[in-house]
Amino acid sequence: MAFVNFLVYLAIMMGIYGILSLSLNLQYGFTGLANFGQVGFFCLGAYITTIITLTFGLPFILGLIISMVVAGLFGYVIAIPTADLKEDYWAIVTLASAEIVRMFFLNEDWVVGGGVYRGGAFGVGGIPQPLKSYFSAQSYPFFYFMIVLICLIATYLIINKLTRSPYGIVLKSIREGEDRLAQAMGKDVKRFRLKTMAVGGMFGGLAGCLWAHYYGFISPRQFLPLETFIVWAMVIVGGKGNNKGAILGAVIIIIFYHSTRYLKDYIPVEEVTLASLRMVAIGILIVLVMLFMKEGIIKEKKPVY
């Protein structure tokens, strides 16, 4: 039974990271936006839904919607200063934005609304799980997996539809540095970039919301910048500019990440060292894929005219 539980856990992680990966793929893979702050949306989604459901006692579905809206708005706003600038600026501004979000939830623990919100460095526990009372402790993870799966499929369908529409073609022309081509078609490149950050941010928030309700406990330590680069590894390995690739990348990296946990049963190495080595491997993996397999496992479909 323990093994089945572990598989369900893995499947839920794949689903949540799959959403993050799809969202980053929309921004980086399709539009060429170097979002180095994906974890910021994830963090924001997790905290907003916690405040909505735990502090205000509102239902899960409201937490989900509001966290998506807030994360989407956040994506729009942080993109404004860099909308006209090159990728280097995007990278540092998004990286810094995610750090600000984390810093905010690390430092602030004020009283909001009806309840007392105790956040800060110690984190927040007791986040309600949706429809928990209808299930036994054994079967609940299966139900939660279904929620995650539905969200993943919805994300996939929406982003797929988006990237195949004329909208997606404009995004690709922006990625290829052909701003003038997009402008010639009468498209406002700046607005497209902002919108893409907003849509991507929304799904990042969704992933954060699902994470918070699954764990029931969140703290700023879970949202370190390293998370962002795990998602980057997923997009790069799976194949940028391909939505199936983004999900495949999430599956591969999650399996790698969690299977190496059990290495310490076989080789004498400490937990901290193992965690570091795992990240060394992810860093090297990013470099190797960039050097030798730029397209990733599933290549982007190039349209034939």
Binding site: E87, W232, V272, V280, I282, G283, I286, M290
Partner: protein, 306 residues
């Protein structure tokens, strides 16, 4: 704290930041990508100095010099193994790769020395106390080394053949190559200079506080901010940006914004308001945003956009 003390602290911070921002900006200038492994290499330098200082018992000054040379050579090695193969790739590809390199470096150090903070074997510093400010001998050294490094870089850039070749390569690599400048050789020198400076900065920060695997990542935002503020790719801009950022970080915490809001007592409300120290890292970020909105090419800017 007196006003002069705040200025002195700003200059100390600026000296550390300038050593790092300068290297970042010259690599960007020649290779046209934002090196996200830059501050991680500074951290590697700090740990190499740790081996020679604590492990082998050498004085910290000797250890710092060895570390600067070793880290500089190490960066050339990384360039040969990774970045050299990507000269034709777009900035974003190389940038993401450099992030991968940075993650690998940080976690390798973390796997070897563990995540905790460590100290160099330097005697406890007795501060020099004057009427207006106090400063430790080490902090005096930080300022001296910072200024000397800047002067050395200026002389190198303007009075040596290498400097001339570097400027030519920065302006137009193809033309430089056609005029008989071996651009690959220039790139090698640029890596060495940039990363030696960064390593020195890493050691100085480590001496003033402590060394830790995350120390490189912790300063990535201020260092990028200083480089961008001065106009990325412009070495003098990076120095100016570092100074501006040092002042901003220290004055940001010193100023009572309550007094600013009621115009120094003109308006009838008074409430003290200081930026909480927990938000100190946010100051550089806010300045970065303002700079990008107002002057995206930085204070000094760059001659032309390629």
């Amino acid at each position: 704290m007196t006003l002069i003390q705040v200025i002195v602290n700003s200059i100390i911070r600026a000296s550390e930041l300038a050593l790092l921002a300068l290297g970042l900006t010259i690599v960007y200038d020649i290779l046209k990508f934002a090196n996200f492994a830059h501050t991680e290499l500074a951290m590697v330098g700090a740990y190499i100095a740790f081996i020679f200082n604590v492990g082998l018992g050498l004085p910290i000054a000797v250890a710092a010099i060895i570390a600067a040379i070793a880290t500089g050579l190490f960066s050339i090695l990384i360039d040969r193994a990774v970045f050299k193969k990507m000269r034709e790739s777009t900035g974003i590809i190389v940038m993401v790769t450099s992030m991968g390199v940075g993650i690998a470096l940080r976690n390798t150090v973390r796997a070897i020395w563990g995540p905790d903070a460590q100290n160099y074997a330097v005697p406890l510093q007795k501060p020099i106390v004057t009427a207006w400010f106090r400063i430790t001998p080490l902090q005096v050294w930080i300022i001296v080394i910072g200024v000397l490094a800047m002067v050395a870089f200026y002389l190198l850039l303007h009075y040596t053949t290498l400097g001339k070749a570097m400027r030519a390569t920065s302006d137009d690599p193809a033309l430089a190559q056609a005029s008989g400048i071996a651009t690959e050789k220039i790139i090698t020198y640029v890596w060495f200079i940039a990363i030696s400076f960064a390593s020195l900065g890493g050691v100085l920060i480590g001496m003033e506080t402590y060394i830790q695997p995350v120390m490189g990542f912790a300063i990535i935002i201020p260092v990028f901010c200083a480089a961008i503020m001065g106009g990325i790719g412009n070495p003098y801009g990076a120095m100016l940006g570092a100074l501006a950022l040092g002042l901003a970080e220290n004055f940001g915490l010193y100023i009572n914004f309550g007094k600013v809001l009621n115009l120094g007592g003109l308006l009838p409300f008074s409430k003290d308001f200081y930026i909480p120290t927990g938000y100190k890292p946010a100051i550089s970020f806010i300045i970065l945003i303002v700079v990008l909105l107002v002057r995206p090419r930085g204070i000094l800017g760059k001659k032309k956009e390629g």
